[in-house]
Symmetry: C2
Subunit: 270 residues, 2 copies
């Protein structure tokens, strides 16, 4: 990696302990993985339960203050949700506390502590011993403080960012501008990231020496890799649609399928 | 649903609030979704951090006391991990507390509070307005208390369950029996489930009336669904493999691909 590569500092939260040779702290890799995840698992602690609660949400990394920022720059995470949801209510209460508090506790000032996780499974690794079975995967985790976005311009920026994260260019090719009701009923959470890390597993089967030398096992157990692909199918138009499938949709489907297939197959050979 | 269908009770943890018509509390549906997820996001609260921590883990629903139990019966969740990992250490400490405590607090007696989440994205729903964009998806969440499995027989039961969850029949067709070192270096967490719920979104685009009547929008915005498929590719044998790809692997690949494709396409038509 180049000397300008920014990395998240290793803290007790994000430091990978098991198989730390697989850990990646580079902002670019981590942000890229978040942006290529269709869903993010967002976890927070409700005030009235012993359990953390996890919600699947759609999100994208960005910077409202510097929209031209690169993926490798420090960025925030914008999450899309609904005003009625439990998490938004907790974040709203946290925002209120923040407004009220002068020198209140650190947590309330910063927002709701959240953990964001996403993973892609790229292959099943079937070894001689069940205990050496594994997956090729790419996983990512981010930690940070979530607050509700109150500013309409920042909210619109985030909605455009998140919509284009689902299909590039979709925002401008959907009905514009947003209605007042749409803006009011939609809530956006912004997560200020404190740390993060990614973990990749690639390659093929990794068998123990004693299993490789175990003739009986090698004569009876099939060992190998089963690739796992994620792909997008042919678009299905609504019955009332009057428009040809646009190039940004067909290009995205093609790129998505090629990139995923290439990555999965090349990762096996590493 | 039949009158014998068991459901998780609705608590403040698992009750679906937004789009509650999409909620499912039936044990069978929830357990089936957990078992068909290649990775589970397991969240817990480390003692020394404001943030919940999420780890991707492999797991499967089962009952050691009644191995013939159906998917719709009350079951535990077995999770596969490593002795060195942060979560196992917390669970181990919790186990110790449990041993020591006589009338200690409820949480320590029950184990480590965890939240388990998994989701499948089945389609991108591209509506006229960006605000009506959605996914078809199946998501599931479980809450419960995790403890370390100490008994060797139960550990072996769980390893077989989890291995067969990756590829049906894989345990018996891999090298047997486990070595002592394998048993010692592997940790299994058992989660006693307190509640859970699932949430499904299927169907096509759901546009607002004012957008359907907006001629300019309907003449310029493409609306439709892009299916998202998960599939398994051709198995790639190791260079030293001497065995034909067994039927349980080839059958699994075929079934996995057919079932996923059929579900995704039929869900769009609902």
């Amino acid at each position: 990696m180049g000397r300008h590569t920014l990395e998240y500092p290793k803290t007790k939260d994000n430091t990978v302990r098991r198989h730390n040779e697989r850990a990646i702290y580079a902002l670019e890799t981590i942000h890229n993985l978040i942006n290529s995840s269709q869903l993010l698992d967002v976890s927070f602690n409700p005030p009235d339960s012993p359990f953390p609660a996890t919600l699947p949400m759609i999100g994208h990394m960005g910077s409202f203050d510097r929209p031209s920022a690169d993926l490798g720059d420090p960025l925030g995470l914008y999450l899309h949700g609904y005003v009625s949801s439990r998490m938004m209510n907790v974040a709203r209460a946290t925002n209120k506390d923040k407004d009220k508090s002068e020198g209140g506790d650190e947590q309330q000032e910063q927002g709701l502590p959240v953990c964001i996780a996403a993973s892609h499974v790229d292959a099943l690794i079937l070894a001689t011993s069940a205990f050496n079975h594994s997956y090729n995967y790419r996983s990512v985790v981010l930690f940070g403080y979530a607050t509700l976005v109150e500013d309409d311009a920042e909210k619109t920026y985030a909605m455009e960012l998140i919509t284009n994260g689902v299909v590039p260019g979709r925002w401008k090719t959907s009905r514009q501008p947003p209605t007042k009701a749409e803006m009011q009923s939609t809530s956006i959470l912004k997560v200020k990231i404190t740390s993060g890390s990614a973990k990749f597993r690639d390659g093929g089967v990794s068998d123990d020496k004693h299993d490789l030398q175990n003739e009986e096992a090698q004569n009876s157990v099939w060992t190998g890799v089963v690739p796992v692909f994620s792909s997008l199918g042919e678009p299905v138009s609504t019955t009332y649609n009057k428009v040809e499938v646009p190039a940004n949709v067909t290009d995205f489907i093609k790129d998505y399928n090629n990139e995923n297939k290439e990555y999965v197959l090349s990762a096996i050979k590493k």
